[in-house]
């Protein structure tokens, strides 16, 4: 005995299938969910920056263009700082090592130390400071006004400490680590306290979200 499907059922299936296909297609094209982050704050949309002219510890010009083509982890400090800055740089060495185990070397973020004490942090001073932590770390310094052009766009504060009169003055400075994306835009902030076991997964999640959103 042959079983026939009622016509009204066939009609319903013919109407539902296209709807199911459309839903599947929309689901595949839906924007990715923003990542859940440990310590980082992702900007709602990456911020384009005004250009600046600084110099790196090799004596080469360092401008906004220098941030393009790769991710950059940036810390703002000074070489006369004996505690917070060396601790942050040592932490970034650990970050680098953990990332080397997980992503190709040509996709590793650059680590750049921007000096907020250009009076004492000359390119030569930075050249004997940064490579001690890691041969790939870059120190950047320059005209104080140019440094401020960059820092005021990304919420980094810095000032000589009160009572600063002699050659061993201290500098107060923001301790956040700034993330610039491969377009040279201000992308995220890693707040304190810095922990490589939290920063590394945050960076990888931000990077993945960025790639998925393009």
């Amino acid at each position: 005995m042959r079983t026939t499907i009622p016509g009204r059922v066939i009609h319903a299936i013919r109407r539902i299938i296209p709807l199911l296909c459309a839903a599947a297609l929309l689901g595949a094209c839906a924007p990715p969910e923003p990542p859940q982050l440990n310590r980082a704050t992702l900007l709602p949309s990456a911020k384009p920056l005004l250009d600046f002219t600084l110099v790196d510890h090799n004596g080469d010009s360092f401008t906004l263009e220098s941030l393009r083509g790769h991710w950059t982890l940036a810390f703002f400090g000074y070489t006369h700082c004996p505690d917070v800055c060396p601790t942050a740089l040592s932490m970034l060495v650990q970050v680098r090592r953990k990332l080397e185990a997980g992503i190709p070397s040509d996709e590793l973020p650059e680590v750049v130390f921007f000096s907020v004490d250009p009076e004492r942090d000359t390119p030569a001073q930075l050249a004997t400071f940064l490579p001690y932590f890691h041969p790939g770390f870059l120190g950047v310094t320059g005209d104080a006004g140019q440094i401020t052009i960059l820092t005021r766009q990304i919420g980094i504060l810095h000032a000589k400490a009160e009572g600063a009169g002699d050659s061993d003055y201290l500098v107060d400075h923001s301790a956040a680590i700034i993330l610039f994306d491969p377009e040279g835009k201000f992308h995220a902030v890693f707040g304190v306290p810095h922990d490589p076991d939290l920063l590394v997964p945050d960076f990888l999640a931000i990077r993945q979200y960025y790639e998925a959103s393009r």
Binding site: T79, C81, D83
Partner: protein, 141 residues
């Protein structure tokens, strides 16, 4: 200040100044720094086994021009270092000098220190007693 100066003079001439019987030191270390670093930091744990608070009022060293007591703090995201005149060690308690907090700060010596080198600090307390501390130069804690 005169009492502290007198203690240093007596120490310099080898005159016995009372060692503090209650404070002990653990894990004293100086962070190795790049050759061009101008300032260094030292850390340690001080334990007070006595029944009264001990107040650290000065630190001196034959290996550094001078030693200062400092505290790093991060307030509203801003890192700053504050000069501290004295550090109390609670009775039956301890004081941690560690990265990101209290630490000794010294100008770097002319010959850069390397991992494995040892330096000496002399801690002076408010009762003029002292504690000699040997610290090791290390890259990390």
């Amino acid at each position: 200040m005169t009492r502290i100066f007198l203690s240093f003079v007596l120490l310099a001439f080898g005159w016995p100044v009372a060692a503090n019987p209650y404070v002990t030191m653990e894990n004293a270390w100086v962070r190795e720094a790049p050759p061009s670093a101008r300032m260094l930091a030292a850390y340690m744990t001080l334990k007070n086994t006595g029944m009264r608070e001990c107040v650290l009022v000065a630190v001196d060293s034959p290996d550094f021009r001078h030693v200062m007591l400092h505290k790093s703090e991060i307030v509203d995201g801003m890192a700053r270092m504050i000069h501290v005149d004295e550090l109390p060690i609670p009775a039956q308690g301890k004081l941690e000098l560690a990265p990101g907090g209290y630490h000794l700060m010294m100008p770097a010596p002319e010959t850069p220190l390397s991992e494995g080198d040892r330096v000496e600090f002399v801690l002076t307390f408010c009762d003029e007693s002292t504690l000699r501390v040997q610290a090791e130069v290390r890259k990390k804690p």
